[in-house]
């Protein structure tokens, strides 16, 4: 009896491995690893923000709107629990993505505003932090690209023919991938205004 059960199990395992079971497992693990790296770099960025904000405050304390926006965006990001399961939940994934996108936008605005303060720009502390933020943004881009590639590979392995049967038997879904968050904003040509005074932007003016 036991031998027969063993044989059935072996047979099933054989079928599954022939139908991409292992391949899907390998790809799944690759997606997890790539996702961890994305989270890692997002965290690195979030960790840089308090220092950056305090340095900028020292020279440009009246840029309240930009500063609070960064701080709020960071709080939003911290409010979302970035678990590995996030990858399997498209809605939560999109929300996480949006929060991170907002933080990136707020951060780049902060750095753009900093251009108006020569003393701030000359501060070594600020320059180091700026280099770190730039480097981290680049790492995020790299990590996201690698994640996109690994998800693409995983999704293909789940959806292509013999594997798709295995996947549907096991109940595996495709994973969410990154998209350009604000497609419309990017495809629209940027509005360029020359009439805003560079040195003193109105503190309460709504941005954009």
């Amino acid at each position: 009896m036991r031998m027969r059960l063993l044989a059935v199990l072996t047979f099933a395992a054989t079928l599954l491995s022939g139908c991409g079971y292992n391949q899907i497992q390998i790809n799944d693990e690759a997606v997890n690893a790539a996702w961890s790296e994305v989270l890692n770099q997002y965290k690195r960025r979030a960790d840089l923000i308090p220092n950056l904000v305090s340095v900028v405050q020292g020279y440009a304390s009246h840029e309240k709107e930009v500063l609070t926006r960064v701080t709020e965006a960071r709080a939003n990001v911290a409010g979302i629990k970035a678990t590995p399961e996030l990858v399997n939940d498209p809605a939560a994934f999109a929300k996480f993505q949006k929060a991170q996108g907002d933080l990136g936008g707020a951060l780049s605005r902060l750095l753009a505003v900093a251009e108006n303060y020569p003393q701030l720009k000359a501060d070594t502390n600020f320059r180091d932090l700026q280099a770190q933020v730039e480097g981290t943004e680049n790492r995020i881009t790299v990590a996201r690209n690698r994640y996109i590639k690994s998800v693409q590979e995983y999704n293909v392995s789940v959806r292509t023919f013999p594997n798709s049967l295995t996947a549907s038997v096991m109940g595996w879904q495709t994973k969410a991938n990154f998209t350009v968050e604000d497609e419309k904003a990017i495809s629209a040509p940027p509005a360029i205004k020359f009439d805003t005074p560079a040195a003193k932007p109105a503190p309460s003016a709504p941005s954009y």
């Binding site: 031998m3 044989a7 054989t14 480097g135 996109i148």
Partner: protein
């Protein structure tokens, strides 16, 4: 429901299209032949050799591999996009230690970048890389002294690796490129039967390639015999035979893309310089002049 699958698959590829569209005609990654690759004809022979000797000494003393590339432009990509692609292709640095650095100068774009491998991000954090770019390279590049800027940058990098922060840098124990066992690599401790299975599957794939289905059957026969020896039962033998038979096909299928495994093709020239398999994660800094 079944008939919807092809449509969905098509949609999936459509969704991926923008990814390919943005990658329109990027600059091809140059072949890695030496530590210093100059596609712009900027460096004269003497300076080029000085730089190469310096970089060679860094690898000998510190274990870190440094490569330099001068090219006219990275357009339409940004220097960062090109740089990570280059890093993935060249694999500068030793495997496992990931102690590679690439200095890229896009002369017509007036941009440069220091790309730092994972293993050196501690010794050369972004801020340090940025300082080297802004303080060592940019002023000299402005005067047209590219060789001087690059040599100075290489010296600064060596100091950073050797400096007080060198705790993060691995000691120069892999000077000849002996690959360090990667912590997350596939080369972990498999049980013995995994090795056997692997050899069987590879053998089955080869037999299948040589003899076709007959090869698969032959491999299945061998597998069955081995299964009988191990399990001591006909059921075990049958299972093993079936397993090997099926796996011989799997192996064949994946054989098509398994060709690019080995990356050590330094047969082209004796002085050929090749990356040791280091990986990069986008660390470093860019600048302009």
């Amino acid at each position: 429901m079944r008939c919807a699958w092809p449509g969905l698959l098509g949609l999936f590829w459509l969704a991926l299209l923008p990814l390919f569209a943005t990658a329109a005609e990027p600059v091809a990654v140059p072949r890695l032949e030496a530590r210093v690759t100059d596609r712009t004809g900027t460096l004269d022979t003497g300076n080029r050799q000085r730089l190469e000797i310096l970089l060679e000494a860094v690898e000998r003393d510190r274990g870190a591999q440094i490569a330099v590339l001068l090219l006219p432009t990275t357009q339409p990509e940004t220097i960062e996009q090109f740089s990570i692609r280059l890093a993935e292709a060249w694999k500068i640095g030793h495997k496992g230690a990931d102690n590679g650095i690439i200095i890229i100068v896009a002369k017509n774009d007036r941009k440069m970048r220091i790309e730092v491998g994972y293993g050196l991000e501690g010794a050369i954090p972004d801020a340090v890389a940025k300082r080297i770019v802004a303080e060592r390279m940019a002023p000299r590049f402005k005067q047209g002294d590219f060789a001087g800027g690059l040599i100075d940058a290489a010296e600064a990098i060596e100091q950073a690796i050797a400096g007080p922060a060198a705790g993060g840098a691995p000691p120069a124990e892999t000077p000849t490129g002996i690959p360090v066992v990667s912590p997350d690599g596939m080369g972990g401790e498999h049980p013995d039967w995994m090795t056997w299975l692997f050899m069987l599957v590879v053998g089955a794939g080869i037999l299948r390639l040589m003899l076709g289905v007959a090869g698969s059957l032959l491999a299945a026969g061998i597998g069955g015999w081995l299964g009988f020896m191990v399990f001591g039962s006909l059921l075990g033998a049958g299972g093993a035979a079936l397993l090997i038979f099926l796996l011989s096909f799997v192996n064949l299928l994946s054989g098509g893309r398994g060709g690019g495994g080995g990356g050590f093709s330094s047969s082209s020239s004796d002085s050929g310089f090749s990356g040791g398999g280091g990986s990069f994660g986008g660390g470093g800094a860019s600048g302009d002049w």
